[in-house]
């Protein structure tokens, strides 16, 4: 065998979970604080149990914005553990942990290689012809040069691995740092591109070269759902790459959508939610989960749900049952996107005030002036001298404003609703 290594990226050690609105109960919060560390520890243990030759980390070990001494110390601690087992480590830095960022004075083990701001080729073994790792780190956070192209053509002798934090093919969901194309990667002569930056696992190219984003080992956001982990890669003597994904996250992020239409009572809905929770727990492979529930559809239950504290009560009910378990399923919030059983088209043709409200909302979407009038006053909050520093970035643009108008319309119609059979 040429080489056996673990390819990890975007550890974001000690960076917090985002998007949470509720304060988690203590044991859940503890699980969340330590989740990135726990995932890292799982990676270290995987390296040791699988007796790999090296651990490759493709950038964003921790967040510069949340520079944590603890994160850096823990990272080195893990590498030291590998060193004592004779496992080497190779690290490049990305936009979140560029080389110009603050770093604690730490003693990295001898067997660890951290790449600088120029491409370097480092043999993994004493025999330089077995495998070579080419790596480069970001000198600063916002680095938009095409680093892949800067590498040029590598020595075709040994099995070559490229360790790089980059946005390949301009993924619009991620910042365009070190952008490059698949073509740039293919022409470099690298056999395995160990990439980082994109948090969702992707295999951009199966072979010649193999190009992989392993994703982050621990989801930190409601959008980062499902299993998260690293790639265990084996390269046989013939240079063939065999890679397997290994989930590492201790806490999973999940979403659950429930259509309220079939339910007449809260209990029926609650039963469905319990069923959903059990389903999630069954699918997490013994791991805990943080769940965001979205209620959809139209139904009578919507009126009940809009009662004050109704949603909070549901959350409490669910968490009372599931959050205390081990592994836990903690419902972080229930978003009520359901609507009352309301035939908008029919009401729009009516002559009453509700019809006028609906028509006004419709007009607002095509009449910028009306939309501006309806959105007037929002700047009171979003540009408020005290709160703009938190909120200005969330100020709704025109498209978001239209979405808000829909919500506002639903709210207004509901408030106007009289006691009749619709």
């Amino acid at each position: 065998m040429r080489i056996r290594f673990v390819h990890a990226a975007d550890l974001h050690l000690d960076s917090p979970f985002t998007g949470l609105r509720a304060a988690a109960p203590e044991h859940v919060a503890n699980g969340l604080y330590s989740a990135t560390f726990d995932a890292y520890e799982n990676i270290i243990n995987l390296c040791i149990s699988e007796e790999v030759d090296a651990l490759l980390v493709a950038g964003d070990v921790y967040d510069g914005a949340d520079r944590s001494l603890r994160a850096q110390l823990k990272f080195v601690e893990g590498l030291n553990k590998l060193d004592t087992q004779g496992i080497r480590s190779f690290v490049c830095h990305g936009n979140h942990d560029p080389l110009d960022g603050w770093q604690a004075r730490l003693d990295y083990p001898q067997s660890c290689r951290r790449f600088g701001t120029e491409w370097e080729a480092v043999p993994v073994f004493e025999n330089p012809n077995r495998a070579v790792i080419h790596g480069i780190s970001y000198p600063k956070r916002e680095f938009t040069e095409n680093l892949a192209r800067r590498l040029g053509r590598v020595d075709p002798g040994p099995f070559s691995i490229g360790l790089l934090h980059a946005n390949v093919s301009n993924d619009p969901n991620h910042a365009a740092y070190a952008p490059c194309s698949l073509e740039d990667l293919a022409t470099s002569g690298i056999d395995y591109w160990a990439l980082g930056h994109v948090h969702t696992r992707q295999v951009l190219s199966e072979r010649e070269p193999t190009v992989v984003y392993p994703g982050n080992p621990q989801g930190r956001h409601p959008n980062e759902t499902g299993a998260r982990g690293v790639n265990l890669v084996e390269v046989d003597d013939g240079g063939n790459v065999h890679s397997t994904f290994h989930p590492m996250a201790t806490v999973r992020w999940e979403t659950l959508q429930v259509d309220i239409a079939p339910f007449e009572t809260e209990q029926e809905l609650l039963d469905a939610l319990h069923e959903g929770m059990q389903g999630l727990l069954d699918s997490t492979d013994g791991r805990s989960a943080v769940v965001r529930v979205t209620l959809t559809g139209r139904g009578e239950l919507n009126r009940t749900l809009r009662r004050p504290n109704a949603i909070d009560d549901l959350v409490e009910e669910i968490n009372g049952e599931w959050a205390e378990r081990s592994p836990f399923v903690w419902c972080e919030r229930i978003e009520d996107a359901s609507a009352s059983p309301f035939d908008r088209e029919a009401r729009l043709k009516g002559s009453d005030f509700v019809a006028e409200v609906l028509r006004t909302a419709d007009r607002a979407k095509t009449d910028p002036e009306l939309l501006a009038r309806i959105g007037a006053g929002l700047s009171d909050l979003y540009q408020h001298h005290r709160f703009r520093r938190y909120l200005s970035m969330f100020a709704p643009n025109e498209e978001e404003l239209a979405a808000l108008v829909d919500e506002a319309e639903a709210m207004a119609v509901d408030l106007l609703a009289e006691d009749d059979d619709r």
Binding site: P16, F17, T18, G19, L20, R21, A22, A23, A29, L32, Y33, S34, R67, S68, L69, R70, W102, A104, R105, E300, A346, K349, G350, S351, D352, F353, V354, E356, V357, R359, T360, A361, A364, R373, I374, G375, G377, L378, D380, L381, H384, R386, F387, Y390, L391, F394, P396, V405, E407, A408, E409, M411, A412, L415, L416, A417, E418, D419, D420, D421
Partner: protein, 1048 residues
């Protein structure tokens, strides 16, 4: 759209009821209260707009109008659309959907219905197009937030608008209020800032960590250097301390060697010479002292051994002296006891004499001892006692029974006399029980006979009536003819009144109906009650069998009556009727009571006689029993007297007396025996005293002790003196014997002491010679020299050994000696102090550096272990998310507020003026120009009216009728306005005009008639005048007459 017809399957009081078709623009449903008008109005609303389900939310007091008279809950309405289509709309409760069928029979999709209903909501239909009097004038309507809002809400879906705006505003300001600081976003931002501040503090920790690691490195380097330096100083210090420790020994070694050289050498001096010499001197001293002491003791013992003893001869009477000693206490007791016993003896003599005297003059000690006190005799006495007592008691019992029987007999005789008197005075009844029973049967039979007579009588009467009716062909008599005439007149007038009421209606209606009904009733009665006239009927074939039956019945009646007369005889009655039978029955009841009383008294007398006889016989038996008991007692007494004679006892003694005598004899015997034993004891005491005196007397005489044998106290004193003397002489003789033995032992010891002293003196001489000395003094001097030399040699050896211990043997020892030889103690001490000071300084430095190292390490550990920042970072994101959520909700509420504002502005601008304009026109017409304008100021939620003098008024300033006219006008305005853009749907009103004066009522009806040109009008009323008003209004407007549908 128009409603053509209704079919109610089941709804409220209606079941399978069809109404219609309604062809004219205005249809008036006229019916009394509770005819179902409101039910019909609700039926229309529900079939067109749906039933509320029991499960859904319903307002309180909601009436479901269940199908009380049967049928399926619901029905259908046939409507005629503006487009000319005829559609049947069916709807039933229970969640079923609406069904639409075209005239051709094809089913239409549900969505057609909203179109046909002009897309109006149920609210619009209910509040604008269909309304009751209550809904029209409701005070609630006026007391609501604003009339305008209520009017719009009545049809415009904006009744909740003020609440909605309020809710939006409240929700919004809870989240954020410009210029305020008590809202959620402010709170969250505050919490966020606090977390940020904590995080900034944590960020500075990282730089601190770098600085600390540098400092730690410096401290550790310094610590190593200082430790090394201290180590070498420590070695120096150890060497100086070694020299200092060796110095004393070095000095001692030198001194010992010098002193040894100065002392002479003495060989072969005895080992431990001085101590041996001293021991011998001590031994000689001790031996001399012991010799002297023993010599003195020999002299003393010799004197004792040779001393003489007085009265030594008493020892030869030791056996008598011991007897005196042993009997000494007993002698005292005897002397003391003797007079007491003699006194006791005297008492005993007296008691015995008294006991004998008590028994009788013929009693002495011999008879006492011979009296038979055996148990058998005692039992015999007891037996006689029991037998006598039993016989005596039996006699008493018999006598008591006899007494009791005598009293009972007397009572019975008195009771018999009383019963005899009672019976003698009672009256004997005329009849006995049997005769009474027979008479009762006769009365029962007569009663039954009377019932039969009555029944047959009725039959005769009925048959007679039938015959009379058959004779009716004959012209009626004058009386009944008048009745028939009156009936016919009543009937004709009644029917005429009913018709008049029905046709004319209005105020005539109640009079017509009530009067007509009454007259028709009278006619019916008169027809029915005309009497028939008997005997006037011609013989009809039908009369034959009736007449036959009549004859049979009459015969039966006669038979019955004659039977009854026969039965009257035994009862003693002349005629029999119900009253006479009841009287006869009462008389029988009284006779029966008399029979019962006579029988009771007779039975009582018999019983009493029986009892007297029984009591007499009982008394005779008791007398015999008494005699028998007396004989028995006499026999036992005889036997007893014989027993007493046999024992020489008086015959008069009873067994108890003999028992008591026997007790006295026992007592006398005991006293006799006690006196005998006391006499024996006194003799024994006297003998003891005599014997003791006999021993003591000769001894007292021999040894000169005073003695008087008649004086017991001198006897006792002499005995005591002799005993004491014997003891003293014995002791002195024993002491002399012991002294002789001691003298022998002392002499032997004196000899041994002299030998020991001699031996010690010889050993001393030998020792002095062995030490080469001439005498003891010389010996001591030589010994001191030897001792001094030995000490010095020991000292030299010790010092040398210790020095070697410090340096080690061989060369190091030599080097040490050399070093010590080349220095002095002061120099050594100075150097040691100097090095010690240097070490102390190094120690202080090490301690300082270690402390610093420790605190840096602790701080680093703290920095490394810091975990709170993780919490804070999570909190920061959470709070930001919370703030974002609040902001979004606030934005939605703000937009909703703006949206409502925009819609309201447009709504009021486009819709309201038209509504108000139409309303104004109607209101002006109805009030005949009294109120000329109706308006709603823009942006306000008020309606105002202006009267002809230009004064503006709020609706609540108007009278009730005028206010209702205003709301009616507003509804007309809305109907007209809404009709311009959609299907024109019917207007249905329930008693809307009742509060209007006739003029305004007529004008309002004209407005309805005018409205009916575009919208079908259905009016429900219970007032015929309303019908009239609508008819007049139609006539005045030249419109088609309203169709009137009677109900009830």
């Amino acid at each position: 759209m128009k409603i053509l017809s209704l079919h109610i399957d089941g709804f409220g009081r209606f079941s399978d009821r069809a109404l219609g078709p309604f062809q004219r623009p205005v249809t008036v449903f006229l019916g009394p209260n509770e005819a179902g008008k409101s039910t019909l109005l609700e039926f229309v609303r529900r079939v067109l707009f749906g039933f509320r389900t029991a499960r859904g939310r319903t307002p309180s007091g909601y009436n479901y109008y269940p199908p009380l008279a049967g049928g399926r809950h619901g029905g259908s309405i046939t409507i005629f659309g503006d487009g000319g289509e005829v559609v049947n709309v069916r709807r039933y409760s229970g969640g079923g959907t609406v069904g639409l069928t075209a005239e051709s029979g094809t089913l239409l999709p549900d969505v057609e219905l909203p179109r046909l209903l002009g897309y109006h909501s149920r609210d619009v239909f209910q509040k604008v197009f269909t309304f009751t009097l209550d809904e029209l004038h409701s005070e609630k309507l006026l007391s609501d937030d604003s009339v305008n809002s209520q009017i719009y809400s009545a049809g415009m879906g904006a009744s909740k608008l003020p609440d909605a705006r309020k809710a939006l505003y409240n929700g919004k300001t809870r989240l954020f209020l410009k210029g305020g600081n008590k809202h959620a976003i402010h709170d969250t931002a505050g919490a966020f800032d606090r977390v940020e501040s904590s995080l900034r503090d944590v960020e500075s920790l990282a730089a601190e960590y770098g600085r600390m690691t540098d400092e730690l490195e410096n401290v550790e380097t310094n610590l190593q250097e200082v430790s090394r330096s201290r180590h070498s100083r420590r070695k120096q210090l150890d060497h100086q301390r070694l020299l200092r420790n060796a110095w004393d020994d070095w000095n001692g070694l030198n001194q010992a060697e010098v002193q040894l050289a100065e002392l002479p050498a003495i060989d072969d001096f005895p080992v431990n010479g001085v101590s041996r010499l001293e021991k011998l001197e001590e031994r000689i001293g001790t031996a001399q002292k012991e010799y002297d002491s023993v010599d003195e003791e020999v002299g003393e013992v010799k004197a004792r051994a040779e001393a003489a003893v007085e009265q030594e001869a008493i020892l030869s009477h030791s056996s008598h002296i011991r007897k005196l000693e042993r009997g000494r206490t007993s002698f005292d007791n005897s002397v003391r006891d003797l007079p007491k016993r003699e006194s006791e003896l005297l008492d005993h003599d007296k008691s015995l004499t008294a006991a004998l005297k008590d028994l009788g003059p013929d009693w002495d000690e011999a008879r006492l001892e011979n009296f038979d006190l055996s148990l058998s005799v005692r039992e015999e006495i007891l037996r006689y006692q029991e037998r006598l007592q039993e016989a005596s008691e039996a006699l008493k019992r018999s006598e008591a029974a006899l007494d009791q029987d005598g009293k009972a007999l007397k009572e019975a005789e008195e009771a018999e006399n009383k019963a005899d008197r009672d019976f003698g005075t009672s009256v004997k009844p005329d009849l006995d029980s049997n005769q009474i029973r027979q008479q009762r049967d006769l009365i029962r039979r007569a009663n039954s006979r009377l019932d039969n007579i009555s029944r047959v009588n009725q039959r005769v009467y009925d048959l007679q009536s039938q015959l009379d009716s058959l004779k009716s062909a004959v012209p009626p008599a004058r009386g009944p003819g008048g009745s028939r005439m009156a009936a016919t007149v009543s009937l004709v007038v009644g029917i005429a009144l009913l018709l008049a009421g029905g046709l004319l209606g209005g105020p005539v209606l109640p009079v017509g109906i009530i009067g007509g009904a009454a007259l028709v009733g009278i006619a019916a009665y008169l027809f029915a009650s005309g009497p028939s006239s008997p005997g006037a009927a011609a013989e009809s074939p039908l009369a034959v069998p009736i007449r036959e039956s009549l004859r049979k019945a009459e015969t039966e009646l006669k038979d019955l009556q004659s039977a009854l007369e026969e039965e009257a005889v035994p009862l003693g009655l002349e005629t029999i009727d119900e009253l006479s039978l009841i009287t006869a029955d009462g008389a029988l009841d009284e006779e029966q009571t008399r029979v019962y009383e006579w029988t009771r008294l007779s039975d009582n007398l018999d019983g009493m006689k029986r009892r007297t006889r029984q009591r007499k016989s009982q008394k005779e038996k008791s007398m015999e029993a008494v005699k028998e008991a007396e004989a028995q007692l006499e026999a036992v007494q005889r036997e007893w007297r014989q027993w007493l004679a046999d024992r020489g006892l008086r015959e008069t003694f009873s067994p108890q007396t003999v028992g008591e005598l026997r007790g006295k004899v026992e007592l006398g015997l005991i006293q006799l025996r006690d006196r005998r034993s006391l006499r024996q004891r006194i003799a024994a005491i006297q003998k003891d005293i005599h014997d003791y005196v006999a021993i003591a007397a000769p001894l007292a005489s021999n040894f000169g002790v005073p003695f008087d044998r008649n004086d017991s106290s001198t006897v006792a004193a002499a005995a005591d003196r002799l005993i004491e003397m014997h003891t003293e002489v014995g002791q002195r003789v024993r002491d002399r014997t012991d002294a002789k033995a001691d003298l022998r032992k002392a002499k032997h010891q004196l000899k041994a002491r002299a030998s020991e002293l001699r031996k010690a003196r010889e050993e001393m001489k030998g020792l002095i010679q062995s030490g080469g000395a001439s005498d003891v003094e010389d010996f001591r001097k030589r010994a001191e020299t030897v001792c001094r030399r030995t000490d010095l040699e020991e000292k030299r050896r010790g010092a040398l050994g210790r020095l070697q211990g410090l340096s080690g043997p061989g060369e190091p020892l030599k080097a040490l000696k050399k070093q010590l030889g080349g220095t002095d103690i002061q120099d050594i001490r100075d150097k040691e102090r100097l090095v010690e000071e240097e070490i102390e300084k190094a120690d202080a430095r090490i301690s300082e550096l270690s402390t610093k190292q420790g605190s840096i390490q602790t701080e680093l550990k703290r920095l490394v272990g810091e975990e709170e920042s993780s919490t804070w970072r999570l909190d920061r994101h959470r709070l930001l998310e919370e703030m974002r959520g609040h902001a979004r909700e606030w934005a939605v509420r703000t937009i909703a507020e703006n949206l409502l504002k925009e819609a309201q502005g447009k709504f009021e601008k486009e819709r309201q003026p038209g509504v108000v304009r139409h309303a104004e026109s109607f209101f002006n017409d109805i009030t005949e120009g009294r109120y000329q304008t109706v308006f709603s100021p823009l942006g306000s939620s008020e309606i105002q009216v202006t009267d002809s003098s230009g004064i503006s008024k709020q609706p609540n300033q108007l009278s009730r009728g005028t206010r209702e006219q205003l709301f009616l006008s507003l509804r007309f305005g809305l109907v007209r306005e809404l009709g311009q853009r959609s299907e024109r749907i019917p207007v249905i009103v329930d008693e809307a005009l009742v509060n209007f004066d006739p003029d305004r009522g007529l004008r309002a009806a004209r407005a309805f008639v005018e409205l009916s040109q575009t919208n079908q009008v259905l009016v429900f009323t219970c007032h015929p005048t309303i019908v009239e008003i609508f008819q007049n209004a139609a006539a005045q407007s030249g419109a088609q007459d309203p169709e009137v549908v009677p109900m009830g």
